[in-house]
Symmetry: C2
Subunit: 125 residues, 2 copies
DNA sequence: CAGAATCCTATACGATACTG
DNA sequence: CAGTATCGTATAGGATTCTG
């Protein structure tokens, strides 16, 4: 199965089955904060606080939940340094890095087209 | 702004601002049924009923809501033939087709990796 | 600093019934 | 056939407080 493959080679008739496990993974990735958290980690390892500031508006609860899901999925690794005060770093696994390769263009596309699509100006830093 | 561009060239400091309009677009695309509906339309125009069957498990309410959002966003066009019984076709706009170019690889990636990530077998047709 | 635990609410979503 | 309207619920998500 290659990435260039047509979808109906995989799903004959072009039907996406309801009980396909990939739905779960898709739900994780497309969860409210999923894309932003993963892409935020693309450039480098980030600490909890950095990540929280990088993804503006995310609550602590959602950051924790999103990270745990991705950790369980094998997309993100958590490394806690045994120091006081605590120092915890999050980074992408190779699998996560591979996924972000697909997510960054998507994020960039929304940036390029949001203004046109919504008919109002972009808020740029 | 090109697709290959690094994100911190756009968001210096690697911070994703909370009030950026692209968040809205991202929410539409990553809505529960967004990716599946858009990718289902990649190959050809589909009628309401075909679309409903293609995306297994979607309710009529959510199909309607998802399609309306995408229509307003300029990603999908609705064409109603003035016949009885009604015959309505949905297809991608050029903008929508461009977006699906980015979404199909994402969907394929989840298909390839879901089994490994979740530790259980894929349900294939 | 990096969370966990609680509580609370909006709304996303589904099921059902109805219609031109 | 292609929807809309209504209702009900689950749960995603936020705000706040607490802690090692």
């Amino acid at each position: 199965m290659s990435v260039g493959m047509a979808l109906d080679e995989i799903f004959p008739g072009g039907t996406f089955p309801a009980n396909c496990p990939s739905r779960v993974v898709l739900d994780h990735v497309t969860s409210k904060w999923g894309v932003l958290v993963l892409v935020a980690l693309e450039r480098r390892t980030l600490r909890w606080g950095e990540l929280r500031r990088a993804v503006e508006g995310i609550s602590e609860k959602m950051l924790a939940q999103t990270l745990k899901t991705f950790e369980a999925d094998g997309l993100v690794v958590r490394e806690a340094l045994p120091v006081i005060p605590p120092h915890v770093e999050y980074s992408l696994t190779p699998l996560g890095a591979e996924l972000v390769t697909l997510l960054r263009p998507l994020l960039l596309w929304t940036l390029e087209n949001a203004e046109t699509m919504l008919g109002r100006p972009l808020n740029r830093p």
